[in-house]
């Protein structure tokens, strides 16, 4: 078999026609594979794909100012949906706080949750080996029904499905940071961006990280009246707090209980509830509440204060000393790159009515309000940013690897041409990597992404395929040197002899990575190695010999006298 290969290769090397065809074919394959990524989107890029988990969490966030009972209504609704799922083993609801912290929650600020309008629901699923439906499909299936039914009970409710990340956790798949110097403008722009996100296909769980503004009442103290009635503002505050919020006024030590037992004082539930959410009801209630001064005189609170309605103060957020707001969205089983570009295009097209838009940086936008002249910036962050950074850094690592190998080869061979051939040969494995992803994408139910691990696989491949070429060149050299073979004969004989270990090691790599290919995170690496190795083998057994023949080997090998003795000893 290897003998036959040797003859075919020899024929190919010696015919200029076939040589040209091989090189041309390689070039065409290379260009085609590169085209698969960029314009045609046949292979999609993503940092890390979804992972099949045994658990995930649902966050429910109601509008600020919602009560725990309202929150409970929403979680009860979600639990009803969960209870229809066969594969759920148990579910825990945490009202008014975050669930026990996990990796995703750490970045999403789950441990800071401490208010009546938040809840987290943990779902534990059956073991992934016994379950036919991966967790990410389950999330995708449950999401529309749950958000539609439970999210619409109260306005501005955001329900998001949080899966444990396959790799490092991020705030969200897509984060649009909106910078500016006035809160109102940021707010308007943020909500407009969120509207675009909601309309963009593939984006779900859209949330503006702004507090909703709701109605509140403020008690304004009349200083003269307070002074005259012999009470103090502190006393007034304390009594109000005591009456409606309640307070621990004393404690009792106990040997039975693990804590001191507080004695808690407050108005009774029935008597403290306002009848309605309006100023009249508030005033009515406060009339019954009285303060006692030092002389024992009683004064109703309403005598001392006036009550005015007002809007709540939303939280002011800043990042790196600049005021900003986040608009976040998750992606629904798609790469975040493409919805982002779509949303960005939509912003560019539709926002020009009120803003002058300018592109800054790679994807970021600067928006100037046409009327006020105020400047806002839209900066993309989140998984997208991490993906770009990681890909850029891995790209840098890749180039560094190429340079290092090139230098190593130059030191070893003392020839730029030979080192160049080795490098070129190993670079061709990219064809296999891309085509491999495309093939895998055809065979898998969901999208098979080109991920960060694919790039790592590709970088490793550079080393592997340069090894193949290296062994080939080394053997050719010793054949020409020691046995005095002709160039063409030596190359084809070396290729044929080295073919066996090359095939063997390639098979070892392919078999070892075949098991990787099934993994969610490292599938990209597995596929890159499998198909890249195949390409690398072809490159080092066909393309590299042709390139070698074209090079002036005698000179590069530093032979002093040319030996030209025909060879007929096959072993």
């Amino acid at each position: 078999m290897f003998k036959k290969f040797e003859l075919i290769l020899l024929g190919a090397i010696e015919s200029p026609m076939k040589r040209r065809m091989i090189l041309l074919g390689t070039l065409v394959a290379f260009i085609l594979s590169v085209l698969m990524i960029a314009p045609t989107k046949m292979v999609l890029a993503k940092m890390l794909p979804g992972k099949n988990n045994d658990t995930f969490t649902i966050y429910a966030t109601l509008a600020n100012g919602s009560s725990i009972q309202q929150t409970k209504r929403v979680t009860d609704c979600i639990v009803q949906h969960i209870q229809k799922e066969k594969e759920v083993t148990d579910t825990e609801v945490f009202l008014g706080m975050g669930a026990p912290l996990d990796f995703a929650g750490l970045i999403k600020g789950s441990h800071f949750k401490n208010s009546e309008n938040v809840a987290e629901i943990v779902l534990n699923l059956t073991k992934k080996h016994d379950r036919s439906e991966p967790s990410y499909f389950m999330v995708q299936r449950m999401r529309p029904a749950v958000t539609q039914e439970c999210g619409s009970i109260y306005p501005n409710t955001v329900i998001s499905f949080v899966e444990p990340p396959a790799g490092p956790p991020v705030l969200a798949a897509i984060v649009a940071e909106i910078y500016g110097d006035n809160a109102e403008g940021i707010r308007t722009l943020a909500y407009r961006v969120s509207e675009i996100f909601k309309k963009t296909e593939g984006l779900v769980d859209v949330d503006v990280m702004e507090d909703e503004i709701y109605d509140t009442f403020e008690i304004k103290v009349n200083p003269t009246k307070v002074a005259r009635s012999g009470v103090s503002v502190k006393q007034l505050n304390d009594i109000l707090y005591l009456a409606f919020e309640g307070m621990d006024i004393a404690v009792k030590n106990s040997h039975v209980y693990n804590n001191q037992i507080p004695i808690y004082l407050s108005l009774s539930q029935d008597s403290k509830k306002f009848t309605k959410k309006d100023i009249k009801a508030v005033t009515m209630k406060l009339t019954s509440l009285k303060l006692m001064n030092k002389m024992g005189m009683m004064t109703p609170i309403t005598e001392l204060v006036s009550i005015i309605p007002k809007k709540s103060n939303p939280m002011i957020m800043s990042k790196n000393l600049h005021q900003m707001t986040n608009v976040v969205a998750e992606t629904d089983m798609v790469s975040q790159v493409y919805p982002l570009m779509e949303a960005r295009d939509a912003i560019l097209n539709t926002f020009s009515d009120t803003y002058d838009i300018e592109k800054i940086g790679l994807f970021d936008l600067q928006l100037t309000d046409k009327q006020t002249g105020k400047v806002y910036k839209l900066v993309w962050d989140g998984e997208m940013k991490v993906t770009l950074d990681t890909f850029a850094q891995l790209g840098g690592a890749f180039i560094a690897a190429l340079v290092l190998i090139f230098l190593l080869m130059v030191i070893y061979y003392k020839s730029y041409t030979l080192s160049g051939i080795i490098l070129l040969g190993s670079f061709l494995s990219i064809i296999g990597v891309i085509v491999g992803h495309w093939i895998m994408n055809l065979f898998t139910a969901d999208t098979f992404f080109l991920t960060a691990t694919s790039l790592i696989g590709f970088i490793a491949l550079i080393g592997i395929s340069s090894r193949n070429s290296l062994l080939l060149i080394d053997f050719t050299k010793s054949l020409m040197d020691e046995k005095g073979m002709h160039k063409a004969e030596a190359i084809s004989f070396a290729a044929a002899t080295r073919a066996k270990p090359i095939f063997l090691t390639a098979a070892a790599i392919i078999l070892a990575s075949a098991l990787l290919a099934g993994d969610a995170v490292f599938g990209g690496l597995g596929v890159a190695l499998m198909f890249g190795t195949i390409a690398a083998v072809i490159a080092s057994l066909v393309v590299v010999p042709v390139l070698l023949y074209n090079a002036d080997l005698e000179r590069h090998f530093n032979f002093h006298e040319k030996k030209a003795v025909s060879v007929n000893d096959p072993l």
């Binding site: 009860d76 639990v79 229809k84 148990d90 609801v93 945490f94 008014g96 026990p100 912290l101 990796f103 750490l106 401490n114 009546e116 943990v122 490092p168 991020v170 309640g246 004393a250 009792k252 030590n253 804590n259 507080p262 004695i263 808690y264 004082l265 407050s266 108005l267 009774s268 008597s271 209630k285 019954s288 509440l289 009285k290 006692m292 009683m298 939303p314 939280m315 002011i316 957020m317 800043s318 000393l321 950074d389 890749f398 690897a401 190998i405 080869m409 960060a452 790592i456 970088i459 080393g463 340069s466 090894r467 062994l471 066996k500 090691t505 098979a507 070892a508 078999l511 190795t533 072993l571």
Partner: protein
């Protein structure tokens, strides 16, 4: 044949082969390597994901009564500027709300945790004068992934209808103390549940009816609920007599019978204006519920639960701790059942890590077997056996070095092994293939076997060395990839080069050694020329 001058190796490959070929200690070395590898595998801490060094601190400053805009100006902005001065801070997030300002400093990934925490603490403490008057003591909360993220969570719930809300909490609190005593457990916390408390719920209408103020009630209760130490006195014979004052409040009735005021000469008792109960913390809006699937979709209705979470100390074995917790709970199960308390383990990262690791170890073994079968088909079973032996030896060395450098066994480490598996059999395959070729070639039929082994190994030494170096070179830049992803992938550039170097040594030392003892020299007279 002894009169033939022995082959002089030129490369390190041949030299190693020569040194170990007839050395009686080679066998011992092999066994030793396998042993340290196995020991490392069993004692190294196991995790699902690699440890990431993420440092950051959150500073919380409360200024009661200030609006969000005020907090932003007087607390958040000055604080942000100060934190900006710290080296290593990547991002600063500020949040100004009514009454409170929060500033979070996130350090670059990989910045040392202890140093970063200290820097933030120092900066705040050195600049306490920048805060406005009236603030409460600033709280500095460092982020600690190991301690903050629990590895095990257990939900306790009671099927006993008579059990009060607080009893469950108290029982779980006892269990918490027991579990906290286990080795390497860092933090245990409770979520959900209600604490015991005396509630005085005043009826607003009665309050105004009796013309009373809330302040009067506070004073009346506080004057009675007072704990004092016992009084010590002596008798004439110098004996000590202790006189203790009992806390006036023992039960809810005691509180209810407090006289809050006198009205027209008759006393007004607290229970006349308020409902006094010994019950749970009604002001606590937080709660936790659970629903369990009893098969198919037969869920139990939502019921109150208390979740106990346990986190571990850094660098300790999650699997061991989780198992200990499980056994401890198993022991308590019966006592709990008597009170009608059940529990469900709702998170077990130890088990998850162990499963992930075991699955990958299985994959690793499977890959080795597949490669061995492939080699049997192409090279023959003796050669295959030799190569297959080198794999565990190489992995053992790599594991041991990983153990020495303080790494843990996690998904990524094992992926690094799987990735290197394809690469590390190469050296051994190339050596054995060359030995095989020489062994079966007619030219070398007359040569000394020892010489042949050394020569075959030596011959492929330089290209193999340089090729392995080339692969190592590709891994080196990966170590400099920053951010979370770089941290996450770190085990790959950390372990693959080690495995590759180990593969060279093992291939040069053990392949010829084993080949010499296991391969049979073919009889060229009976065989067809050419072999395979």
């Amino acid at each position: 044949m002894n009169h033939v001058k022995p082959y002089q190796p030129k490369d390190i490959a041949g030299k190693l082969a020569k040194t170990f070929l007839r050395n009686p200690l080679t066998m011992v070395l092999g066994i030793f390597l396998l042993a340290i590898g196995y020991i490392s595998l069993s004692i190294m801490p196991r995790e699902e994901n690699p440890q990431m060094v993420v440092s950051g601190s959150t500073v919380i400053v409360a200024l009661p009564g200030a609006s969000a805009a005020e907090v932003e100006k007087v607390i958040v902005r000055p604080l942000e500027r100060k934190l900006k001065e710290i080296k290593g801070v990547e991002h600063i997030y500020g949040m100004a709300m009514d009454n409170v300002g929060i500033v979070n400093a996130a350090f670059f990934i990989g910045e040392k945790k202890e140093d970063s925490n200290l820097k933030v603490y120092d900066k705040i403490m050195q600049n306490t004068d920048m805060f406005p008057k009236g603030i409460m003591q600033p709280i500095i909360k460092p982020l600690d992934i190991d301690v903050d993220i629990p590895i095990v969570s257990v939900a306790f719930f009671s099927n006993n209808k008579n059990m009060s809300k607080t009893q469950l909490y108290e029982k779980v609190k006892d269990i918490q103390h027991t579990l906290n005593g286990l080795d390497n457990v860092a933090v245990t916390e409770l979520k959900g549940g209600n604490k015991h408390q005396f509630n005085i719920e005043v009826d607003l209408y009665k309050l105004s009816g009796y013309n009373l103020s809330m302040g009067q009630i506070v004073q009346a209760v506080q004057s009675l609920a007072y704990n004092v130490p016992a009084i010590k006195n002596r008798t004439k014979d110098n004996e000590i007599v202790m006189v203790g004052v009992q806390n006036a409040i023992e039960s809810a009735d005691d509180i209810g019978n407090i006289i809050v005021a006198e009205y027209m000469g008759s006393p007004i008792y607290l229970n006349q204006v308020a409902k006094v109960q010994s019950s749970y913390d009604i002001q606590n809006f937080k709660s936790a519920q659970i629903s369990i699937n009893n098969g198919d979709t037969e869920f139990t209705p939502l019921q109150d639960q208390v979740t106990l979470t346990v986190s571990k100390l850094q660098g300790t074995n999650a699997v061991v701790i989780a198992d200990e917790i499980k056994t401890q709970l198993e022991e308590l199960k019966e006592t709990l059942a008597k009170d009608g308390i059940n529990y469900v383990i709702t998170r077990n990262d130890g088990e998850r890590a162990n499963e992930a690791v075991n699955e990958l170890v299985f994959h690793l073994v499977l890959s080795i077997v597949i490669i061995a079968i492939l080699l049997v088909l192409v090279l023959g079973w003796r050669e295959s056996l030799i190569v297959t032996f080198t794999v565990p030896a190489i992995l053992a060395i790599t594991l041991f070095i990983a153990y020495l450098t303080g790494q843990t066994i996690n998904r990524i480490t094992l992926f690094a092994f799987l990735l290197s598996l394809g690469l590390l059999v190469d050296a051994a395959i190339i050596v054995i293939e060359n030995i095989h070729r020489h062994y079966h070639s007619v030219e070398s039929a007359h040569e000394d076997v020892d010489d042949l082994m050394i020569k075959a190994t030596d011959e492929i030494g330089p290209p193999t060395n340089i090729a392995t170096l080339a692969i190592i070179m590709t891994m080196v830049p990966m170590a400099f990839v920053g951010q979370m992803m770089g941290q996450f992938m770190k085990p790959i550039p950390a372990n693959v080069p080690v495995a590759l170097v180990a593969s060279l040594f093992v291939a040069y030392i053990f392949t010829p050694y084993l080949a010499l003892r296991m391969l049979k020299k073919p009889d060229h007279h009976n065989q067809k020329k050419g072999g395979h």
